[in-house]
């Protein structure tokens, strides 16, 4: 990198009088800026005040946002200059790309990019860019927000479902990928279509069979749940408990299903079990148990198979024993 030359030593800035930072006699929380930082900001204030439209002003905004990437006023002024000076949008995108890899969570960079895309109307390199950002942090919420925006805006749906699958295969606990999957399905297929729901719930159940205690996959199932698929879900639950035992997310999902089915007595059984195994949420499950008021007493064959599997591993009290025997009857 070239040595940074102070602005007051640069020939082209000789005519500008920098505006120093506001510094009262009795300051509060004053920051000890470095001389370089302070000078860049002082010159920026000067061009902002004079509303200078020039190449040098544009370059100065580059220095300003490099020094302080969240400095939205400089971004705002830069946008203004971009239009006035007819700066190349592609160059500007490249500038953002470079900055984004060092400041992946900066709000301005991501939203400015949307504006540039609105002007450019050509998203051909955008998914590649987002992929690069997700390479750095696969859960970067800004990157996902932009991805959804650009996909929606330019109809880039084609490979997106496959993309979510790849990410989920690589890391089944990448909740952003599950969330993206829900977004794609909602926007490209009919979520009221039973076939779609069945396919997606099976997708999540397959993942769960491999990694049963994955909150992301269980939440996906709960998000898509329909009554007609309750037995399918319960069958997989039986299989999982048989092989690997229960886990809190499985039990939470079962409680959710019994609540939807209004099978209050069975919901109570699950709430009781959750109070002992999901100990951190013990008081929540206690409260939930009091609201388990469904009166549906019917049991499917799969319920009868499931309930005996829900006996706590630890010895349980006679009150709970009574509950289990009632639930099984």
């Amino acid at each position: 990198m070239d040595e940074w030359v102070p602005l007051h030593e640069r020939k082209e800035w000789q005519d500008v009088v920098p505006i120093p930072e506001f510094s009262p006699k009795a300051p509060i929380a004053p920051i000890k800026y470095s001389p370089e930082f302070d000078e860049i900001m002082s010159y920026f204030r000067a061009i902002l005040q004079s509303q200078e439209v020039s190449e040098r002003a544009f370059k100065l905004t580059t220095e300003t946002v490099n020094a302080s990437p969240g400095f939205y006023t400089a971004w705002h002024y830069r946008r203004f200059l971009l239009d006035k000076l007819n700066i190349s949008i592609v160059d500007e995108l490249n500038f953002l790309t470079e900055l984004a890899s060092n400041h992946p969570k900066n709000y301005q960079i991501w939203y400015y990019r949307r504006e540039l895309m609105n002007k450019l109307q050509n998203p051909s390199s955008e998914l590649e860019f987002v992929n690069m950002m997700l390479e750095i942090d696969e859960k970067n919420i800004h990157a996902w927000g932009y991805r959804q925006w650009v996909i929606q805006k330019f109809n880039l749906w084609e490979d997106e479902l496959k993309f979510t699958d790849e990410l989920i295969q690589r890391d089944p606990r990448n909740n952003s990928a599950w969330s993206e999957r829900y977004f794609v399905i909602s926007k490209t297929e009919n979520l009221n279509d039973f076939e779609v729901k069945m396919r997606e719930i099976s997708y999540a159940l397959n993942s769960i069979e491999e990694i049963p205690a994955n909150e992301s996959a269980w939440n996906y199932i709960r998000g898509l749940y329909v009554e007609e698929l309750s037995d399918e879900i319960k069958k997989v639950m039986v299989k999982i408990i048989d092989n690997k035992g229960y886990n809190v997310y499985l039990l939470q999902c079962l409680e959710f299903i019994y609540n939807k089915q209004r099978k209050g007595d069975l919901e109570t059984v699950v709430c009781k079990l959750l109070q002992s195994v999901d100990y951190i949420r013990k008081s929540y499950w206690k409260w939930r148990e009091t609201s388990a008021k469904g009166k549906n007493l019917s049991r499917s064959a799969i319920d009868l198979q499931l309930i005996p599997m829900l006996i706590p591993k630890q010895p349980f009290s006679s009150v709970m024993a009574l509950y289990y025997s009632q639930a099984l009857s």
Binding site: F71, T73, Y107, R173, S179, D278, R281
Partner: protein
């Protein structure tokens, strides 16, 4: 056990660190038994904030785009720690924030010479409320702020606001607009139009709220969405059961703290973002105060044992302290102490009673009451 993926590795790493810290004092998160205790180091955290009010190192230079935030974090943390700031600090703060006021609109900016922005407007109003005196509240231009908020309402997305002209737009900007309007007594039909419906669209299939429609459910955005709806008295647009189920699952069973999204790591700032949602949802669903929907003692244990630096607090073991996490983790501890019936502390021997916090504004409760009264008696001209 065979398990795959980056998330599981990271989770195991942090979990182990927290377990090791709990182990030093033989703390058991289930029984809440411990051999030795950890105190909330009130004096050190107070010094951290007071020193910062006098002078800040160049390492925080980039906070120059949000100076009212800096003041809000420091002053709020001091209030939570029951430290009364001097009149001198109050005067200097008022002077400085006055300089952050936009001369054209009356809304606040990230610093002198910057353009008006909803987030520093929220932070400036909150910092001024925290000062607890009329001369602080006097500098607020209600009519100007009202016009500014209205000018930030988006035309292309109904019910959304941009942070500033050409700025970003998400659930934070909604909360900043609604909460500021509410405390200043300017929240009306025009500001609220389409906002509840827009927030409802941002509730995800998981139950939490995202930044925009179809965004991933996130603790910070969920707080912003829920608090805004409570302020507008429109929580009817949400699926509350689903929201509750998502909220309770943010508490980590080994670490005791909250994470902000499904399968993400624990982070002390969600002690506030998620923790403050509980009193709100309890109120809305008519759940008695004494019933706690999370484990407040485990949350306190996480912050006290795993997030305290020599001075200030941080997000998770291995990090350095910062002002934001200091304020937000203390806010979360205050809620954990005060929101679930009689005040409760995890380590009674080292208890520090934090000032009760207001879950809607994230300002200490009695300061909110004062500000409300102040703006009620002054007519909007």
């Amino acid at each position: 056990m065979g398990d795959i993926g980056h998330s599981a590795c990271e989770q195991r790493r942090i979990q182990k660190k927290v377990e090791e810290l709990f182990d030093i004092i033989k703390f058991d998160i289930i029984s809440k038994k411990y051999r030795s205790y950890v105190i909330l180091d009130q004096q050190s955290h107070i010094s951290f904030c007071l020193h910062s009010l006098e002078s800040l190192p160049k390492s925080v230079s980039t906070l120059n785009s949000g100076e009212p935030w800096l003041l809000f974090w420091l002053l709020h943390a001091l209030e939570l720690l029951n430290y009364q700031v001097s009149d001198d600090i109050k005067d200097r703060t008022i002077d400085f924030i006055s300089q952050c006021k936009c001369k054209r609109t009356g809304a606040f900016c990230g610093g002198p010479y910057q353009i008006p922005h909803l987030a520093p407007t929220y932070a400036a109003v909150s910092a001024l409320m925290t000062l607890d005196c009329d001369r602080a509240l006097e500098i607020i231009d209600r009519q100007g702020i009202r016009n500014f908020i209205l000018s930030m309402k988006r035309q292309d997305v109904k019910g959304a606001f941009t942070m500033h002209e050409h700025g970003e737009s998400d659930m934070r900007s909604i909360y900043c607009a609604i909460s500021v309007s509410s405390i200043l007594g300017i929240l009306d039909e025009e500001i609220m139009r389409d906002v509840p419906e827009h927030i409802a669209k941002c509730q995800s299939y998981e139950g939490g709220i995202g930044a925009e429609p179809y965004g991933e459910a996130h603790g910070g955005y969920t707080y912003c969405g829920l608090a805004s709806l409570v302020l507008m008295n429109r929580t009817d647009v949400l699926d509350l059961d689903k929201l509750m189920s998502w909220l309770v699952n943010r508490q980590m069973s080994v670490e005791g703290g909250f994470n902000g999204r499904t399968n993400k790591l624990v982070d002390s700032c969600y002690s506030f973002w998620v923790g403050a949602c509980f009193p709100l949802i309890k109120e809305v669903m008519n759940i008695p105060t004494e019933i706690s929907l999370y484990d407040p003692l485990a949350l306190q244990a996480y912050v006290l044992v795993a997030c305290q630096a020599v001075m200030g607090l941080f997000d998770k073991p291995g990090s350095s302290p910062d002002f934001y996490h200091t304020a937000y983790s203390l806010g979360g501890v205050s809620h954990a102490e005060n929101d679930n019936g009689p005040v409760q502390w995890i380590f009674k021997e080292g208890m520090v009673a934090l000032a009760p916090n207001d879950p809607l504004f994230n300002v200490v409760r009695d300061k909110v009451t004062r500000a409300r009264r102040y703006f009620e008696k002054i007519p909007l001209n």
